[in-house]
């Protein structure tokens, strides 16, 4: 990350916009300066601060493959002032971008290992980045299980991608919805209830988790009961972030600055404060 890109945004153009669901969309971005675009490097799990002109910045994880040089993809859910503004933008519009920030997924550490990729909630972009990464490099990893839970079956986005992933060798895809209709052929209930169906021994697997904190806590309990080494559980955390430089103080969880020490943490690193209301 160059110093300029870390403190002051640079202009980026929206070159593609995809509506993923009624409230989720993906922006494909290209930095306006071609030299800056080609020099830009990131790892899955890292994020950018995206700037809406005249309104402000928000942290958004990067979901595209780090080896793609045509565009940087960010999947965004409409929740607030800035995301509503991004939702109204069109191809050709300009925004600001600075980054990438933070510590991403431990890809070197999990290379060759069996992987359980566990997500809950809408979009879950931080984990999608790593699913894309490992499925694109399928031979470099062991067996893979992708478990995704949503509240309502209509919240599930990227259905065709799940089909593509499920067609890969030694790759298991299991979906769950708390609320589902007759057309839902998957599990009705919580995603944690699917952990028992993973087709490989979890004792040596690495698990990457992203979702609402109650879901992550329930997952950790279930995983530890299932024999997963707690040092092999990786979590992507979210907090208020304004500077992304470890200075503004908003993203702290106990001693950790989520923006620079995370957003991906190894479970024992944050166990003391995780699930304690107020941290």
């Amino acid at each position: 990350m160059s110093a300029a890109l870390s403190r002051v945004p640079v202009a980026a153009e929206i070159i593609r916009r995809t509506q993923e669901s009624p409230s989720v969309f993906t922006l494909g971005l290209r930095l306006c300066d071609p030299a800056q675009h080609s020099a830009y490097r990131f790892m899955p799990g890292q994020f950018n601060m995206l700037y809406l002109y005249g309104v402000g910045e928000i942290p958004i994880s990067i979901v595209s493959d780090p080896d793609r040089d045509d565009e940087l993809e960010h999947t965004i859910r409409v929740v607030g002032r800035v995301t509503r503004g991004f939702d109204a933008l069109k191809v050709g519009d300009r925004i600001g971008i600075r980054g990438p920030f933070g510590r991403g997924w431990p890809l070197e550490q999990v290379r060759g290992k069996d992987l359980l990729l566990l997500t809950g909630g809408l979009g879950c972009a931080p984990l999608v980045s790593v699913i894309n990464y490992v499925t694109q490099r399928r031979a470099e990893f062991g067996r893979i299980a992708i478990l995704q839970g949503v509240k309502h079956m209509d919240d599930l986005i990227w259905r065709d991608r799940y089909d593509q992933w499920a067609a890969l060798p030694d790759t298991q895809v299991l979906l769950a919805a708390d609320v589902a209709g007759a057309s839902w052929s998957w599990h009705v209930g919580l995603v944690t209830e699917l952990i028992d169906q993973v087709a490989f021994d979890l004792n040596n697997a690495h698990v990457m988790v992203c979702g609402p904190e109650p879901m992550m806590l329930a997952s950790i309990r279930k995983l530890c009961d299932s024999g997963v080494d707690e040092k092999h559980i990786w979590l992507s955390m979210e907090r208020n972030m304004q500077c992304a430089l470890g200075q503004c103080g908003h993203c702290q969880i106990g001693p950790h600055f989520v923006c620079k020490d995370g957003p991906v943490f190894c479970y024992p690193e944050i166990r003391e404060r995780l699930g304690v209301k107020g941290f």
Partner: protein, 373 residues
Amino acid sequence: MTTLGFLARENLDRLLTALRASGYRCVGPMVLDGAIQYCDLPNAQSLPSGCRDSQAPGRYRLDHTDTSRQFAWANGPQAIKPFLFAPRETLWCVERDAREALTFKTVSPESQALAVIGVRACDLAALRLQDAHFLQGLNRDVQYAARREGMFLVAVNCTHPAATCFCVSTGDGPEVPEATGTNAGCDLILDELDDGFILHSASERGASVAGQLELAPVTPEQQTVVAQQRQQARAVQKRSLPARDLRPMLDKRLEHPRWVEVAGRCLSCGNCTSVCPTCFCYSEQEQPLLDGSGSTHARVWDSCFTQGHSYIHGITIRADTRLRYRQWLTHKLAAWHDQYGRSGCVGCGRCISWCPVGIDITEEVAALAASPT
């Protein structure tokens, strides 16, 4: 640290003159709005001569006494913090042209070198913590760094701690710790006597500025007075924290009933974080131009006592005062050790005096420590 000599009180202006001749803008303590505050200092006569501060939980008053001393007080609401970590400043700006192209521009801070007169030992300790936060690590803060590099610090050893002070227990005062070479974190250290000051140099440039002054040799009697008043400044402090590292104690008391009790008194106003010399939180704000041609992006001091501090997409992590007070205290006294190798409290007592309801950090810690649950 090298003792240089004695400067008579009537010659203190010569120090200001020497600093100005070296290019510094001088700021120092003056009485403003009923409190001691650091302002542009026109001359030594503007210092708060004869002023005494009376501090207690929720109370700060200035009294006038007959003493000729100009530093016979503990502190005011400010430390050095606002001069380095500005309460409000622009970080960058963006222009939008007719084709809606965006051009981002860095905004450089003004960087006239500043000399601060009358800095306290507790404030130097706080400055080291702010330096660690803003300058060390991957992300050096350019605005802070630009101001810090030029800053000249004239410390005055504290002879009159307030009733709210507890720097002895945190190890940060009342005198600037004896240090060798340039480690004192300031340039000159003064011990105030009735008729003048004993000067010590703590850096090369401090020695160079002091070299322009005519100093008398320090007498054994003066040395005796300095030793006595240093001893006295320690002895008068009645407040304390029970240990330098309160992590083990606080970690076991995250659900202690005292948090509920203190939340019943705390107004969540954020005064404590505003006057704290180590608190570093800030929020970023956008100020678009009315004609749509551009926007500036600024940062302003923020506080962990605000509703917005912990907000993420529809969730407020710390929705009530109990969680905010606990965040502040456990960050200050526990998490800071992991982040910066020591407590974030320097014992200045400002949060006690400037709390509108008089919440006393030492009393809260004692209450927490007194019972395990």
